[in-house]
Symmetry: C2
Subunit: 187 residues, 2 copies
Amino acid sequence: MSTPERLIEATRELLWDRGYVGTSPKAIQRQSGAGQGSMYHHFTGKPDLALAAIRRTADELRASAEASFSSEGTAYERIRGYLLRQRDVLRGCPVGRLTMDPDVIAGDALRAPVTETIDWLRGELARIVQEGLDAGEFSAHLVPEEIAATVVATVQGGYVLARASGSPAAFDAGVRGLLALLAPRTA
Amino acid sequence: MSTPERLIEATRELLWDRGYVGTSPKAIQRQSGAGQGSMYHHFTGKPDLALAAIRRTADELRASAEASFSSEGTAYERIRGYLLRQRDVLRGCPVGRLTMDPDVIAGDALRAPVTETIDWLRGELARIVQEGLDAGEFSAHLVPEEIAATVVATVQGGYVLARASGSPAAFDAGVRGLLALLAPRTA
DNA sequence: GTCTATATTGTGATAGAC
DNA sequence: GTCTATCACAATATAGAC
């Protein structure tokens, strides 16, 4: 792997585990095996490197979600697929956690990929819920954008519950509760 | 206000906005108006002061939630009251945000109040959902602990959506979606 | 109780040799 | 492209005067 590549990957790991304020250039250098000089040769500084790392993480998350969304099945099945897809629950969401980082949220550059990713997620889910409504799968009084927000929030909040309790079980409980509420009436 | 009091309050504000790793003793001293010497006279260091601050924040959050839970009304109405209670949405949850702080989660001392608060919330909500089930208010197939987790997750995740989009509207959308899913069948 | 001085290590970066 | 100085400032304290 090239040096810029190793720097970006190391930064992604550190941002995921410690956030932006908790990630120092020195830690990035240690984790990537690159020296001081290399890092500042390839990137202008910590914000520049963090931006590259965040963008890549956002792209990966999007590609991964897209796979769930475009699978076969009813709207409910696709939402269930998204909710139950494998996750590193105790590590949290590598994009969502950045919303709690003051230095990420404060500036436009680092915040943009975060905003776009979460907004895109809500939009895709809203589209799926609308398809479910059109198919008569869900109660007609449900509002697609609201249900989409509830689904994304349950996932993001599920990470909080899991980390608070120290167990992925809390995440799973929240997801199962949501699926029970969302389930098409089979009676 | 006494000096220890001002130190604790300043730390609470900073922890809320910047997290534990983002909060320095110097910033606490500036915000509280206390000097270096005072801070280290009243507290052994940053972790000690943070513990006092986190405990107080957790106690306040619990008291505030208790007010919603113990109000009059059906189970659905009490859950709705909790979900719609006034919040500083864009600032996030002062307790939940600490779950993303590596130095808080890593140690038992600082993590304990966070764990206890979130676990307590889930327990109280599960109790209310059970009451709703007993009263025939909810579908019998719902599992109280799961719905409770979904409710808390929707709130915690709602903060993430709001901060990602820069608007409290995203939080409100998630809550309305959940309430629509949870609403007793009126037909 | 509060203040100032001092200390060690880390942060985030620049400069210039190789 | 990478390395080793070097730098100014912040983080997180300790020591001891007042």
